[in-house]
Symmetry: C2
Subunit: 188 residues, 2 copies
């Protein structure tokens, strides 16, 4: 991967500023982070979806992510981010060889990454608050905790929310990398 | 405010690119959006905090935002964003007269705005999910709705979450404006 910087200088037909070769390295970070986002999205969705648990009290009462709109939103948001990360990884990979498109592409990536950050952070907050309510309950409203009964379900939800938080932080880092990358192209 | 573009060219000691005068206008947008963020934060916190309601069923049972960790987090997050918007408005205003600092400042604003977006979006999601639960309840977990009893409290929470969503979108726009502003300084 160390040879990526060289063809950029030769292939470029526009005057690339002195810090232009640094841009290629940032795209490498970008691809790595997007892969992490994909892994986190996939893990968050899979762990959430496989959390179903049925308890006999004495009648069978199942707990499913589908029963809570918060968890449905969470799964939808991270499914979208998984798809988004695949598409943008391909875009980012293709840009490593086309330095002319890079600055405009970085701007578009920041735009969409910021939208994804909003969606994923709100989804993590939504699912996290429901997970906390299931764990602790709320005596003021007589909402009893359920995690003492549905232990496996709650473990899955907890892990899924933690992975979702990690995914949200990865998107934050993506915005930082893209912003720093554009910033490095401005002449001093 | 139309005269801001001119002194920049004269006062600048570094070579500003052709699109540099556009940067001043973006800072004007920036200040306006930050003021909107301040107004939204203040409104969200005030409406949430003043929602207390006591119902006699027949004993007096109050509903307060303080009883739900989700709403406490919401109030804390928007208090922080209110303070943040004041500080960054002053920073942004001071930058209008110092064009040399602008590009680095824009980068720092994107960094912190992205952090705020994550915090505010998660707070809005958290409070929103609790508001929805209070409105609809969840029969699978026997969490009964409370908004049929605490109507004023729920109205306040609903308005507060809507204003919070508006504030989150304003932060998203702030990131877009800053990113576009940095992008406009990169030579074509």
């Amino acid at each position: 991967m160390a040879s990526i910087g060289d063809p950029e200088y030769k292939a470029s037909s526009t005057p690339v500023p002195a810090s232009g070769s640094g841009g290629a390295d940032y795209f490498k970070f970008d691809v790595i982070l997007r892969f992490l986002l994909f892994a986190a999205s996939l893990a968050a969705v899979l762990v959430m979806v496989t959390g179903n648990q049925t308890e006999y009290l004495p009648l069978p009462i199942p707990a499913k992510f589908r029963y809570s709109p918060a968890f449905v939103y969470f799964v939808a948001a991270f499914s979208v981010s998984g798809l988004y990360s695949i598409i943008t990884t391909l875009v980012s990979l293709s840009a490593i060889r086309k330095p002319n498109l890079k600055t405009k592409l970085l701007l578009q990536l920041i735009f969409w990454d910021a939208v994804m950050l909003g969606i994923l952070a709100s989804a993590t907050g939504t699912a996290g608050s429901m997970a906390y309510l299931g764990l602790k309950g709320n005596k003021h409203t007589n909402w009893n905790k359920i995690c003492n009964i549905y232990d496996k379900f709650c473990r899955h939800v907890g892990v899924s929310v933690a992975v979702g938080l990690f995914g949200s932080i990865v998107v934050l880092l993506l915005i930082w990398v893209s912003a720093y990358s554009i910033h490095s192209r401005v002449p001093k």
